[in-house]
């Protein structure tokens, strides 16, 4: 049971790295808190559901459609919203209020459009039969989702650390005003990061029907709570710390489900309290300041 819980936690944690990645990228670059993150993920989930239901599009292929559409929506949304928020005295608080309102609107519209019942995509679409990993048997959907999540993390790593755009994005993350003073087009860099952040949430949504049982318009609230725990544990503002936070969350959740199952929903809060008491800057907190 122990070995299974650790391996399952690794796979589940990889998925939750992907879930938190977009949120942390947006926070890291813009210092705004996207409380509609879970709802963006929900929209990605419904996009994958309808693409599959109407056109039979494989979820792995719908990643590309979701990525393109969400970046295309995120880019102008940035120019419409974020510069105004950043001009405020307290942009973080204002962003919380704004995105909370946006979240409510998205949930209401999605409920009207899709209904409130559970929806999902058959697990066999991602592969038939369980896969064996180190002698343990896991659903194919989990293994594929874990693999895609790892690729998404690698994509973000390459984007941030191996491209010119990534260098300037990290410069903006370290100090927005100094980046502006050095001639970096901060708004363009931020708009791209915002679009990619939303797209990563959307991609996480594509796999939500496989990892979270089913999807509903109201699923965003729980996702938000878990995502915040993941990124705070990993380190706020450091997208790669999210990977560590996600894996810590995944393994802890599987241990809780194995040994203290009734209390498993307390885990995000327990992790948050523990990390804030022991290491408030998060597991990779130092690195973000020297990035």
């Amino acid at each position: 049971m122990l070995a299974y819980a650790i391996l399952a936690g690794l796979i589940f944690g990889l998925y939750f790295s992907l879930v938190g990645l977009g949120l942390n990228l947006v926070f890291g670059v813009m210092r705004i808190v996207n409380l509609a993150h879970g709802d963006v993920l929900m929209l990605g989930a419904f996009a994958a559901f309808w693409l599959f239901k109407l056109f039979g599009l494989h979820p792995v292929l719908s990643i590309f459609a979701v990525f393109a559409v969400f970046v295309a929506v995120g880019w102008p949304l940035y120019y419409l919203v974020v510069p105004r928020l950043l001009r405020a005295k307290d942009p973080e608080m204002l962003s919380i209020i704004f995105f909370f309102g946006l979240s409510q609107v998205i949930v209401a519209l999605a409920s009207i459009a899709f209904g409130s019942s559970e929806r999902s995509i058959p697990g066999r679409v991602l592969g038939s039969g369980p896969y064996q990993i180190l002698g343990q048997s896991f659903p194919a959907a989990w293994v594929v989702t874990g693999g895609v999540s790892a690729l998404a993390v690698a994509f973000v790593y390459l984007y941030l650390y191996r491209t010119r755009l990534g260098y300037v994005t990290r410069a903006v993350m370290v100090h927005r005003e100094e980046a502006l003073a050095t001639g970096i087009d901060v708004h363009r860099v931020s708009a791209i990061a915002f679009g990619i952040g939303l797209a990563l949430s959307g991609i996480a949504g594509v796999f939500a029907p496989f990892m979270l049982g089913s999807v509903t318009p109201a699923m965003g609230v729980d996702i938000n709570i878990t995502s915040f725990a993941v990124i705070v544990v990993g380190s706020l503002g450091n997208p790669l710390g999210t990977v560590l936070g996600g894996i810590a969350y995944g393994i802890s959740l599987m241990f809780m489900q194995t040994y203290f199952s009734s209390w498993a929903n307390l885990l995000p809060y327990l992790l948050l309290i523990t990390i804030l008491l022991v290491r408030p800057s998060g597991l990779l907190g130092r690195k973000v300041r020297s990035a």
Binding site: E118, G129, L212, G213, A218, A264
Partner: protein, 417 residues
């Protein structure tokens, strides 16, 4: 002459009283309720709400319901708010219905979680809570007359046929080791306790080898299933809401795991939504309750199941809310209210309760026989038999009732293949 005078006086008094009654009659009876258009209980809450609406719209189309104290038909007005599956919001809105809207009749939202906050509020305001589907046994106490359960039995009664089958028939099939997994809320916790009690009373004929709760919002069961498998059970009971059951059955299917005997609640209660998410294959040979949305009772009051189903399909053709047991539950609440209003001595809350209790054992609806405990207001009728899902020659889901023997339509398949 004296006789004629007396008759005239009587006639005057009769007409005066009648006129006074007619003048006192309200223009409408206000029914207050909550529904959840979003959140964890949205799908089932909306099904219940839409079932109630069918009854209400039908009655208003007929000019209202007969209200005995006024001896006339009075239209119904539904005052309803969206609690978004949130208990804090629900508590505020229940208060609003009582104190601001001053409803004549208060109905609870779906299920034990959203009803739990209404129980003390209704009691404090001495308002009768018409509890539609909140079946947590803790709600029903001898010292609280302000609650009645209309549309399903209290949760400790639910598993009666299932536990009887397990402890009486199970050992004959080779079932000895039982795993119990339940969502930690009133509804499932009470059922889990009833299962534990039945197994304990079996004197070792069957034994619990796994007994754990999980939070109601659990959406991933892969590790839990692995842990259950490690105990090598002959029978597995998973007691959860529809989201739990969908996730559990999907995780089983994705993991290529089939337990020899598996019971879950919602493949029976909300068959359509579970089928959409899990598929018929994922439900095959699963044991479940056979609810009134599947089983044709012979109603003596209100529509039959097929009539109700036809009405549902024509009223809600978009399919955004699936037909299921909770649709029937909402409609049944309406029927119980209709009977109560037609027989109550007054519109006082305890008079309404008395009228509802008066229907116990007499009212036979689409939902079976309404039977209620006078001491606590808990429903003990409308008990659902145990069934097993099989697939017909077209691969479509059908129910085989396996217990109790007098209702059985077939034999259980054990072990599941």
């Amino acid at each position: 002459m004296v006789r004629a005078k007396a008759l005239a006086v009587f006639a005057v008094i009769f007409f005066a009283v009648s006129a006074a009654h007619a003048a006192d009659a309200p223009a409408e009876i206000k029914i207050g309720t909550l529904y959840a258009s979003s959140g964890n209980y949205a799908g089932v809450s909306m099904a219940q709400y839409q079932g109630l609406r069918i009854w209400l719209d039908q009655k208003n189309a007929e000019g209202g319901v007969m209200v005995k104290p006024f001896n006339k038909k009075i239209p119904l007005k539904l005052v309803s708010y969206d609690d978004q599956s949130n208990t804090a919001t629900a508590a505020t809105l229940y208060n609003q219905l009582i104190t601001q809207d001053k409803v004549d009749i208060l109905l609870a939202d779906f299920g034990s979680v959203l009803t739990s906050v209404a129980v003390p509020i209704a009691r404090d305001h001495q308002m009768l809570l018409i509890d539609q589907t909140g079946s947590g046994a803790a709600f029903f106490t001898k010292d609280n007359p302000y609650i009645v359960l209309t549309s399903l039995p209290m949760s400790s009664v639910w598993p009666k046929h299932m536990t009887d089958f397990l402890v009486k028939e199970g050992p004959k099939l080779g079932i000895k080791r039982v795993a119990l997994l339940y969502a930690t809320n009133d509804f499932h916790g009470t059922q889990a306790a009833a299962v534990r009690d039945a197994i304990k009373a079996s004197n070792g004929a069957v034994e619990l080898v796994y007994d754990n709760g999980v939070p109601t919002n659990t959406s991933s069961y892969t590790v839990t299933i692995n842990n259950i498998q490690a105990t090598n059970p002959d029978a597995v009971l998973e007691l959860g809401y529809v989201n739990n059951d969908i996730a559990f059955l999907r995780n089983l299917q994705d993991g290529g795991i089939k337990f020899k005997w598996l019971f879950t609640i919602y493949p029976g209660l909300e068959t359509e939504v579970v089928e959409k998410n899990v598929g018929p294959k994922g439900m095959e040979q699963v044991f479940t309750y056979v609810p009134s949305s599947v089983m044709e009772y012979k109603p003596e009051f209100g529509m039959s199941l097929s009539q109700f189903r036809t009405t549902w399909n024509s009223k809600y053709p978009d399919g955004k809310v699936e037909f299921g047991f909770n649709s029937v539950a909402g409609y049944t609440t309406g029927l119980v209210l209709e009977k109560a209003l037609a027989t109550t001595d007054s519109m006082a809350q305890l008079a309404l309760r008395k009228a509802i209790l008066g229907q116990s054992g007499k009212l036979k609806t689409i939902d079976g026989t309404f039977e209620i405990l006078a001491e606590t207001g808990a429903q003990v009728g409308e008990v659902q038999p145990l069934g097993q899902i099989s697939l017909d020659e077209h691969g479509e889901v059908k129910f085989v009732t396996v217990y109790p023997p007098e209702l059985a339509t077939g034999k259980p398949v054990y072990p599941a293949k």
